[in-house]
Amino acid sequence: MEGITKRFGDVVANDDVDFSLEKGSIHALLGENGSGKTTLMSVLYGLYEKNAGTIHVDGEPRAFGSPRDAMDAGIGMIHQHFQLVETMTVLQNVVLGHEPTDNGLVDMSAARNDIEDICSRYQFGVDQFLDTKVQELDLGARQRVEIVKSLYRGADILILDEPTAVLTPQEIAELLDVMAELANAGHSLIFITHKLGEALDAADEITVLRDGEAIGTVDSGETSESELARMMVGREVQFDRPPRDAPRGDPVLDAEQLHVRGSRGLEQVSGVDVTVREGEILGIAGVQGNGQTELVEALTGLRDIDAGSVQFSGEDITDTNRRQRIDAGIAYIPENRTTEGLVQEYTLVRNALLGNQTVEPFVDNGMIDWAAVQRHAEEIIREYDVQPPNEDAEAKSLSGGNQQKFIVGREIEHAPDVMIASHPTRGVDIGSIEFIHDRLLELREAGMGIVVVSSKLDEIQKLADRIAVMYEGEFMATVEPTETTEEELGMLMTGHGPDDASGGVKS
């Protein structure tokens, strides 16, 4: 691919990007969220039309108007959100769109033979599920089904879009094995990721994208994490831990033996104790999907608790709902700002009321004083440097960082006793990250109890007074950030017991 440019309106998602893939190799495409990785691949796969540039496959110039064209040229894409029909069986999904037929009916036995062939060639272990409906499979198995689907369609080039985002560490390891196997068998793979380590482990070559531009392509054997990181963010990220006094306050939020089930009815939190003191930041680290979401929702009142109790300033609040907890003084910076934290089609003024529906002076006797809400919105915008400073702008018109600053401001101005911040800086630009970190540290100084959930270890290490590492619904250990290395945290996050880590302190 040469000189690929893709614009969405005024936004340039890909700016004159060159990218080339060697046959039988794995090429990682590395970059932060929003750097244009997925867009570039969607152009290759025929989902988007490019504004400029050329694509050659095996030396032939090609132009793909649709995924079908790309598929015919031997390109398959495994999307971040699996393109599987949950109510259909694995077999039906694999052949969808390319069904072998016999007398008008789908020829199941032919399909079965072909798929079993593919599976045995690469030892996928998908063949045992052929007649199982996709909805009954776990995510790792679904991903393998996606890969089999692409191979069945005759793909030589496979694009994997953030394939590890939803997988457990074991599943990631298995996936990387599968990828190596495929490359050995002569397939060429493009591996989209924002995780440095994985790119280094899996790929032969790594191309880094930043703000839609290709920064450079390096050989994975001749580079290091720090070099890649510098390429990704444009400068060395400095997460210096500010000096501080040890927190000495009383416990303000105290949960014991929490058991919580996830949306699918499976237990996601299994007997967790959480204690947060005044003037303390408790960091909760872990790979996404290990029960952090459910734990946070249980603490904020968004999810029912199966067993255990939650105490707030000495009072039992286990059975109170979200609104009662807001009123009690538990603020929440939600994991997902676009679906939870802001109503996208509301102006910032209307969004300033979100979560404040019971707070005077904004609401009095059930009636809203919009003038007061407007002043509040203006104040948040000013204090938290929300750009553009226009309270009548719709939330969706703001950038991610500014949306997040608005939410952080709104929740802080709520004057809570406890702040629960879930991935407070995810997808936020660096300036905003530092701004949000500073605010959280200020609140800590002011004596608030704070919980920060993040999968970014550097963030957790910078902010937290104690770090609880969550793995498969349990706290593996609670450790001191100053006495624990990133490597030790990484071990804990992948389920290696606290004995392996030094400085383990049980709270």
């Binding site: 968004l302 609104r323 679906t339 802001l342 509301y346 009636m367």
Partner: protein, 376 residues
């Protein structure tokens, strides 16, 4: 500026702002285009069927606004469309697809008549009794409609039963059961038709300004007052904010402490209550008794189009309701004074609803012809 007038100013100001944001001009254009297109097809059919299209159009206008009685008739229908339209708008704004306004309207109207008939012997005759019975009737209508709306709301909230389907079913059940009731246990003594007894003469809305059967300006006043109340609830009250937020983005509403289940039930109750009030106005102002609901018109269904046309904005419901009232009124006129079958008008109204449901059609047409270039 005093505090109260400042508040009033705010309301008007935000209303104006809101209307503009919903791009009033585009709405108007779509409404006009829908009606024009539907009428064009209607006129085409009239001409093809051998009737005089010019006479048809003339009597259409005459039937809607030609003279006091036509206007009164238009306002009579409009009153009902405005009320039922608001009922729909309340639910749709909150993201709850209440297709059951027709059923809530029927149940509310029937409850109104029966409560008045049953309470009448207990109260003195004359003005005092009349006003008292009116209050009883409206209260009964609102309650019955509210309960009949709350039921599918609760089924949705606690058993996850699809509201669209359950409310459609409840429409049939309301019509069937009330139809059977007025035919059998509650049929008025000596009635040959399947009707209840009449409510007493002194229970009626006063005929001021318009002296026309079946219309009272008070009825229209009730409709407009309901619009105002619902507008204030939606725009200025916490409950309204919770409701509208749920409709826009359920997860954000939940995040902010709004209980999803409770909101669905409350929304459906409020929507049903407004539909019940509409039923009460229909029963008291127009009929004075209750009859087989399969023959009383499809106000609750047409209301969906009224609300849609108004982008579910309570204030927009007023012009949209007037428009549908005019069409219905013209239909009655044509049915009586011309040889064009009234069914044609029913069909044309159906076409209007159909076109209103396809704003995209007109947007694309506008783009292609270069008209209204900036309307996306």
């Amino acid at each position: 500026m005093s505090r109260s007038s400042k508040r009033l100013y705010d309301v008007v100001d935000s209303a104006a702002g809101h209307m503009l944001r919903a791009s009033v001009i585009e709405r108007l254009a779509i409404a006009t285009a829908s009606i024009a297109l539907a009428l064009l097809i209607g006129v085409g059919i009239v001409a093809a069927a051998g009737y005089d299209p010019v006479a048809f159009l003339t009597s259409l206008v005459e039937g809607a606004i030609g003279g006091q009685s036509a206007i009164a008739r238009t306002l009579r229908f409009s009153t009902l469309f405005i009320l039922t339209g608001v009922a729909v708008a309340v639910a749709f704004r909150a993201g709850v697809f209440n297709i059951g306004v027709q059923g809530q309207f029927v149940v509310g109207g029937f409850a109104t008549i029966m409560s008045i008939i049953r309470t009448a012997p207990l109260l003195p005759e004359g003005v005092v009794g009349g006003v008292g019975l009116l209050l009883v009737g409206f209260a009964a209508g609102a309650c019955a409609g509210g309960v009949y709306g709350a039921f599918p709301g609760a089924l949705k909230a606690y058993a996850d039963a699809n509201v669209i389907i359950t409310t459609i079913m409840l429409n049939f059940i309301a019509t069937g059961v009330v139809g059977w009731l007025v035919q059998n246990p509650f049929r008025g003594e000596g009635n040959t038709a399947p009707n209840t007894e009449r409510i007493p003469e002194y229970v009626s809305l006063p005929r001021i300004v318009f002296d026309s059967p079946g219309f009272s300006i008070v009825g229209l006043g009730i409709a407009l007052a309901t619009v105002a109340v619902i507008f204030v609830v939606m725009e200025r009250s916490r409950f309204g904010y919770d409701m509208v937020t749920s409709g826009h983005q359920q997860s954000a509403a939940t995040y902010s402490g709004v209980g999803a289940k409770r909101t669905i039930v409350l929304t459906m109750t409020l929507s049903g209550m407004v539909a019940g009030v509409a039923g009460a106005v229909f029963a008291i102002m127009i009929q004075g008794y209750y009859t087989d609901p399969s023959g009383i018109g499809t106000y609750g269904f047409d209301a969906i189009a009224v609300s849609l046309l108004a982008a579910n904005n309570p204030l927009g419901i007023v012009p949209a309701g007037l428009l549908f009232g005019g069409l219905d009124s013209a239909g009655s006129h044509i049915g009586i004074y011309t040889d064009v079958p009234v069914q044609l008008i029913d069909g044309v109204i159906g076409l209007v609803i159909l076109f209103v449901s396809v704003p995209e059609l007109f947007r694309m047409a506008a783009q292609r012809t270069g008209l209204g270039g900036e309307s996306r």
